[in-house]
Amino acid sequence: MINQNSKTLLEVRGLHANVNGIEILKGVDLTVKSGEIHAIMGLNGSGKSTFAKILAGHPAYEVTAGTIIFNDQNLFDLEPEERARAGVFLAFQYPIEIPGVANNQFLRLAYNTVQSQRGKEELDPLEFDDFVREKMKLLEMSPDFLDRSVNEGFSGGEKKRNEILQMALLEPKLAILDETDSGLDIDALRIVANGVNQLTNKDNATILVTHYQRLLDYIVPDYVHVMESGRIIKTSGKELAKELEAHGYDWINTDDRGNTAGVRP
């Protein structure tokens, strides 16, 4: 929901970044205010996941220029775990498997760490069990996933649901969902989208990375951005996604590939 008086939660300016010496991001600008939902679309390899991981502080990426202010703080001053505790959440495009670590233990540790950071009450294993089961109901997830190792042997869709479960537990200020819709069946898409919608409110914001309009039918974005070659080259309202779906990325005319991208209209 757009409200001009909302607080700016995230401000990215001129972000350049390398991986293994190759420049992937070439000047990303993006402003996100609280209460807003942003969609980022773009061709494979255009840099969407890279951008998402840089926001979360992944060590493989080297930021060479630009600034990111998150909630009035210089994001680069914070370690990855500090960013998470400050409310940056990334639902991974490819959630990794962690053999031997029980999901419930992992979830509880993450939950308690973030809770204690916020000066809120931590839960013991029994209390947490009740709590997490309630959240799982919301996502129609079987409690069986609690006893299994984190993501190990989960199907593609199950992994994505486990990501959103974590979002529900951690209640982030800024949630970045990297292709959470890929791999979900039609019912799961609806369930997960409902879950995300219930978690959004006027004080937080969501960035959805997606290739498909069908997610945006459920989670309606306030802005749609197109990323190309490491820059946001076009920003518009929710209708942009539909146009892209109808015409493809080539439809964006060369005029749009200018410098105004990412700055609000």
Binding site: G57, E81, A84, P95, I96, P99, G100, T113, V114, L170
Partner: protein, 478 residues
């Protein structure tokens, strides 16, 4: 840090006794005379001296093994002094006198209070009434007929038992280091559980109070008679230092019909510094004989220390339906080297063995699992299950698996599984992204990896081992 600790723990006794100590150290080198000296200093009976001399004969004809996957400079056995009189330890009056740095390390490791005191050299009775604890402990054991004392004491007080069993599982000429140990061992533990007795508590060397340092050639002998059972704990998680670089211990276990021996070790000898300078060479021969029908021998080890670890706690499954188990976690970091594993020798019918080996390598270290499963022609219906998992942290370390399987009976069933995994940057990042810091993340991953082994440890030990591993691997990831 390690060097600081070494100094702290090894602080020489500052006042007096210097001349006395010096006069009681045998000249360097090994020969028959030295062995006679050791035996006479310990006031041993003739058969014990014969045992030592036979071992020495064998040792002379043997050469140092070189097949293991570890590298170290040649040891000069003539430059070692094989006997020194027990050293008086400096006693501090209270915990307040202990170096705070040392206490912080203990804190971090979660070493129990009574152990901290003992390790730091505080007179234990300041912390608790050690005499009464030891006495109660001894009385309780004596009530049920259990003998638990130093092996030197046992030679004096129960010579018939020592004579009957010593060297029956690990013969004097078994291998180079066992022969050396048999010739020159100075002390160790003796434990005898008579027929039908279930030992009412875990036996640990810590409670074998009044014994001096066992020295570099330690000898342990544990016997469980028919239907007896015992759980024995060796070592502790606190870092342990010694000026002797070479340690060659021998442990023998004997289980008669329906008897059970569970032997758990946490080994944390000084591992050398982060450049690989110094550290203990730990060359150990541990073997259990499941002699009786339905007997069980179970080895659990958490090996985290030493510059070089070279040991294969083994089971000879002679009794029908006897069971052998080996659960191991070996952690190497910096320039540590470990070549460890087990041997399961199936001789009796329906014998079963389980091998669970977990190795974790970090830094520039190398870890090898070496295991032998042998099914003798007599071992009808023998079963073995082996699982060897290696975890690598970083790109400079390595892990190897050398499983040897010899099956001489067609009814045998032998299974072997192996895996190698890595703690990857992306795994770690996943934890961080959820607010969990690196240290906790590594500890969770490692504990998950070692779960099956830790489950075998006595509760308190398991908690300590968990902390110890995190401590050992601190800073090696990310």
């Amino acid at each position: 840090m390690s060097a600081v600790l070494q100094n702290l723990v090894n602080q020489p006794y500052k006042h007096g006794f210097v001349t006395e100590i010096e006069s009681d150290i045998a000249p360097k080198g090994l020969n028959e005379e030295i062995i006679r000296l050791i035996s006479s200093k310990k006031n041993e009976p003739e058969w014990m001296l014969t045992f030592r001399l036979q071992a020495y004969e064998k040792w002379l004809s043997m050469s140092e093994p070189r097949w293991q996957n570890v590298k170290y400079p040649k040891i000069d056995f003539q430059s070692i002094s094989y006997y020194s009189a027990p050293k008086p330890k400096k006693k501090l009056a209270s915990m307040d006198e202990v170096d705070p740095e040392l206490l912080r390390t203990f804190e971090k490791l979660g070493v129990p209070m009574h152990e901290r005191a003992a390790l730091a050299g505080v007179a234990v009775d300041v912390i608790f009434d050690s005499v009464s604890v030891a006495t109660t402990y001894k009385e309780k054991l004596a009530e049920v007929g259990i003998i638990f004392c130093s092996i030197s004491e046992a030679v004096q007080t129960h010579p018939e038992l020592v004579k009957k069993y010593l060297g029956t599982v690990v013969p004097v000429g078994d291998n180079f280091y066992a022969a050396l140990n048999s010739a020159v061992f100075t002390d160790g533990s003796f434990c005898f559980i008579p027929k039908g007795v279930k030992c009412p508590m875990d036996l640990s060397t810590y409670f074998r109070i009044n014994t001096e340092e066992s020295g570099q050639f330690e000898r342990t002998l544990i016997i469980a008679e028919e239907s007896a059972s015992v759980s024995y704990l060796e070592g502790c998680t606190a870092p342990k230092f010694d000026t002797n670089q070479l340690h060659a211990a021998v442990v023998e276990l004997i289980a008669l019909d329906n008897a059970e021996i569970k032997y758990s070790t946490v080994q944390n000898w000084y591992a050398g510094d982060e450049k690989g300078i110094g550290g203990i060479y730990n060359f150990v021969t541990k073997r259990g004989l499941a002699k009786g029908a339905n007997s069980r021998i179970s080895w659990t080890q958490v090996e985290t220390g030493s510059a070089i670890t070279w040991k294969y706690p083994s089971c000879i499954l002679r009794g029908e339906n006897s069971v052998g188990e080996f659960y191991s976690v070996a952690v190497t970091n910096n320039y540590q080297q470990a070549d460890t594993g087990t041997k399961m020798i199936h001789m009796g019918r329906n014998t079963r063995s389980t091998i669970i080996s977990k190795s974790i390598s970090a830094g520039n270290s190398n870890s090898s699992y070496r295991g032998l499963v042998r099914i003798a022609p007599t071992a009808e219906n023998a079963r073995n299950y082996s699982q060897c998992d290696s975890m690598l942290i970083g790109n400079q370390c390595s892990a190897n698996t050398f499983p040897y399987i010899q099956v001489n009976n067609n009814s045998a069933k032998v299974e072997h599984e192996a895996s190698t995994s890595k703690i990857g940057e992306d795994q770690l990042f996943y934890f961080l992204q959820r607010g969990i810091d690196t240290e906790e993340a590594v500890s969770m991953i490692i504990n998950g990896f070692c779960k099956e082994v830790f489950q075998q440890l006595p509760m308190e030990f398991a908690v300590e081992a968990t902390k110890l591993l995190s401590f050992k691997l601190e800073g090696s990831v990310g």
